[in-house]
Amino acid sequence: MKFFHKILIYGFGNPGRQDDGLGNAFVERMEQWVKEQGLEGFEFDSNYQLNIEDATEISDKDLVIFADASVEDIEDFVLTQVDADTKVAFTTHAATPGYIVQLCQDIYKRIPPTYLLHIKGYEWAFREGLTEKAMENLQKAVEMMKIKLQNPEELIGNFKNFEYKEVY
């Protein structure tokens, strides 16, 4: 039987707010690539923001990649490991990936290997469409993640909380 991992790629943000849609655009690009490549085991999701039910969605995955627009002082994009976070979230708008991971741990007693892809954005007005620079950053992030996800074991194996479970 062919072996594959259960991988969730989940973008969040509001595509009606310019570069806030970077996470959603990343998901669309990756979904198209996975389809073209005929890869198996991938699931895709997008929403305005993360929320408590996402703890259920990530609970049975072997690898989770969250993607979000970023205002951090970064060049174009970065991929970081998500650690469980017990701190109070300010609002449900801002349920962080760490918050979701912590909730998953508390409810389902499991932390899937989870990463956050931060893609640098610049403009946030009431308009559809990414800015030119954000598009460039998105393209770079997509190219990097295509390489990473052709061999997901590296991301899975490097995750410190990972308890390996084979999926057939």
Binding site: S46, N47, V71, V88, H93, A94, Y99, F126
Partner: protein, 483 residues
């Protein structure tokens, strides 16, 4: 020398808020204000866009309640395309929209109760902030946390099935809806494996109510006395007086229960409702024009809805409603913390209504859209989770939007939230010179009862700290605390 204490931002409400509490040298509360920085550019942004885009465009306002804006806009455009003033859709069109709306209400109320409110009840208003959150609930009461997560998920799945997708749903269009419910979707919601089926949702809704009522029994002084004050109440009601979250006529009652707005057509809302601007807040203060700015303010939302309606048209929720009304001997209920009780009765009502609709064959077949003679202006109202939501649009001969006026639910509750903050401050902070975590949270609990969405479409750029700033008359910072 008088002092000003600033609590910013308010934690666990949607968007950003700041509370300032002015105290004198003896620690007496002089005045309390909830300041809102609300983005008001949206109404100008939509001008010039084709009118049929509005139900999708308005979802840019908020990632928490996009369905409410989607449906209110669609209702306004029903009027413009000649599909009647809210009750002229095909049975399929109206019922699919109602299912979408009940799903939205159900998930929003469940999220509010389990995610934002239950930590306060389980760990106490003055409990350790490090555990007084849903993570704390998940550790100590895992079954309750699972219920919250799965109820929210169920409502989200209903939205997805009716609106088409989670982001920028397109289900409601001017004059109707663009899809039927499939057999597979229907079977999944009615008979899905536990817990993802409607019977479990009804059962859990009853459990949540039982939990709250049990807490109320043990904490009557707090639940009944905290931020309680008389006011008028406003909401839509069905023409026969029933609770109706999707459509109806506008009714308001005074603090004694007398009708002061007599079931009027909301197309004429400008005849009855004005909005006052105050220089210390971007958010306006709506009021009933007949009673003026001072006395015309009112509450909206679950508490108001259960005060204005005569009955609830679903059996289990009606039974709970009778108990709710009996608690105040049939008089209006003015207790802010009873918003939670009312909200959970609405959760049960929504679950019952979803079950009824899921068994209705009209959802799976029948005409989706109706249209008639075009008009140049339309108003759409809906009872959103947080209260009455107004959308008003006008178009030109080129089908472009020329005017948009929105009164969002939280704006309607602006004055009551300010009054509630003042009550909480006087109750918990009178005579105090030091601000504890418990005192800060007491103010926030008062605001949270109204479940405000303070800044629709705020771009969340990460976690915001809670900050308290003590300022003197000269705006000099005396003390600052952050958590």
């Amino acid at each position: 020398m008088s002092k000003k204490i600033t609590i910013e931002p308010v934690t666990r409400v949607e968007g950003h808020g700041k509370v300032t509490i002015h105290i004198d040298d003896e620690g007496n509360i002089q005045q309390s204000r909830l300041h809102i920085v609300e983005f008001r550019g949206f109404e100008r942004f939509v001008q010039g866009r084709p009118y049929w885009e509005a139900p999708v465009l308005v979802q840019r306002l908020c990632g928490i309640c996009p369905v409410s804006h989607h449906l209110a806009a669609a209702k306004a455009l029903d009027v413009i395309v000649g599909a009647g003033t809210g009750d002229g859709l095909t049975p399929t069109g109206e019922k699919m929209r109602r299912l979408m709306h009940y799903g939205q209400m159900f998930q929003s109320h469940a999220l509010h109760f389990f995610h934002l409110v239950s930590p306060d009840l389980l760990f106490g208003v003055d409990g350790d902030p490090a555990v007084r959150n849903i993570i704390g609930v998940a550790k100590k009461f895992p079954d309750l946390a699972v219920q919250g997560v799965m109820m929210r998920k169920f409502g989200q799945e209903i939205i997805k099935a009716t609106a088409g997708k989670k982001i920028h749903g397109t289900g409601a269009i001017p004059g109707g809806i663009n899809k039927h419910l499939t057999q597979e979707e229907k079977d999944s919601f009615l008979n899905g494996p536990d817990p993802m089926n409607i019977d479990k949702m009804i059962s859990w809704s009853q459990d949540a109510l039982a939990f709250l009522k049990g807490y109320h029994k043990e904490n009557k002084d707090f639940i009944d006395g905290f931020a309680a004050f008389p006011s008028s109440h406003l909401s839509l009601v069905r023409k026969d007086g029933a609770l109706d979250l999707y459509h109806g006529v506008l009714r308001a009652i005074d603090s004694e229960g007398n009708k002061i707005l007599h079931d009027v057509d909301y197309q004429d809302y400008l005849e009855y409702i004005g909005e006052e601007v105050r220089n210390w807040s971007y958010m306006k203060f709506p009021y009933l024009t007949e009673f003026g700015k001072e006395k015309g303010w009112y509450r909206v939302g679950p508490l108001a809805r259960l005060n204005t309606c005569d009955f609830i048209p679903s059996p289990l929720a009606q039974k709970e409603f009778e108990e709710f009304r009996a608690y105040t001997n049939g008089k209006p209920n003015h207790m802010s913390m009873h918003y939670h009780w009312a909200r959970l009765i609405e959760v049960l009502h929504c679950a019952e209504m979803m079950k009824e609709l899921l068994n209705d064959p009209d959802l799976m077949e029948g005409e989706l859209v109706t249209k008639g003679e075009k008009r140049s202006e339309g108003v759409g109202l809906i009872e959103a989770p947080r209260g009455t939501l107004f959308h008003h649009y006008a178009i030109n001969e080129h089908d472009q939007l020329t005017m948009a006026n929105l009164i969002v639910s939280t704006t309607n509750n602006n004055e009551p939230m300010n009054v509630a903050v003042n009550h909480a401050a006087k109750q918990f902070m009178q005579g105090q010179q030091k601000i504890t975590e418990g005192m800060m949270n007491a103010v926030e609990v008062a605001i949270r009862a109204y479940d405000p969405c303070l800044s629709c479409a705020t771009h969340a750029m990460g976690r915001m700290p809670l900050e308290i700033v003590l300022v003197d008359n000269n705006n000099k910072i005396i003390d600052k605390k952050r958590r």
